[in-house]
Symmetry: C2
Subunit: 168 residues, 2 copies
DNA sequence: TATTGTTATACTCTATAACTATA
DNA sequence: TATAGTTATAGAGTATAACAATA
């Protein structure tokens, strides 16, 4: 044990938000490691379970490079949770289809992820939890167009225009 | 524009928290790029400005490997914002000292970072902003021991024990 | 013998360009 | 010619081990 002075920067809301994001992700990471999934594999599985997408579509959803999707789909396919099927109307495209086993894996992973989230937010009561979600939505809605109508069919632009980095 | 279904996972509080953290960090990143600082350089500067630390001390504060601090300090020293000074009581240690120029750089960077934070949180009014900060503190306090008495002298354990990754 | 700082090496992840097959 | 998918290569960032100087 030693005594330190906390720099002002570390006490700002922005830094706390960043730190909370990192720690929340760490909880998710441990769940994903447990399920043998990388973060990108998890996202690909989640997106392709919701609609019929090609690898290019997935790349656009994730704001990432299409070449990074190849290995990801390879791994998911080798595991038997995702399948490449040729689009008969455009034989260049693969339509990615989640298998029955893939849906089971995704359901179990999502359940564990929700549990990890609950554990992370444990210091808050139900009401505070809702408040936090509400505040985050207010902050993020102008930045993530799809959030405005979350959990329904919404418009989304293909690329965000900002620096396309490999984060979900 | 195309229509997509937002997977449930993407609407969870945990994911929003992660996403907010990523976007908040992106704002900070652009400030740091503008100032010619890496994120790690910024943190080293912030920590060493608050107290006298050796490179090992800094590594422990950042929960990162000491070998990564070497290049960081090299860069800061080459820029004239930080200096290595031998500790006369233990000639193995360097005590890292922020120069006058370094303090000016840090002050300017912190000011820009605060502005970026304000811009990021713009959708919230002052009261909501405080609420968010309060909720984040409640969530993080059990996880970050130093937060309990932020902005004062506090006890901190050297290592968090958790997986030591290279994040601030 | 343990610790501080340093260097060198290997490994992971990502970005870029080039290639094929379809349109 | 343009697009979907693939491959190969190079680069950045990180982790690991080994080393010299000091305690």
């Amino acid at each position: 044990m030693e005594v330190v002075t906390v720099p002002d920067v570390m006490a700002s809301t922005g830094y706390l938000l960043f730190k909370a994001g990192v720690l929340a992700q760490r909880g998710l990471d441990s769940v994903l490691t447990e399920m043998g999934l990388s973060y990108r594999e998890f996202l690909v599985l989640a997106f392709t379970s919701a609609e019929e997408l090609s690898q290019q579509d997935v790349a656009r959803r994730l704001s990432t490079d299409p070449t990074l999707i190849v290995n990801t789909v390879d791994a998911l396919e080798a595991r038997g949770v995702l399948e490449r099927t040729r689009d008969p109307r455009d034989r260049r495209r693969y339509v990615l289809v989640v298998t029955a086993e893939g849906r089971k894996l995704l359901a179990k992973t999502a359940k564990l992820a929700a549990a990890a989230e609950g554990e992370f937010l444990a210091p808050l009561d139900d009401d505070e939890c809702r408040q936090l979600g509400c505040l985050l939505r207010t902050v993020l809605t102008p930045k993530l167009s799809w959030l405005a109508e979350a959990e329904t069919d919404v418009d989304v632009e293909a690329g965000t225009g900002t620096n396309a980095r490999a984060n979900g």
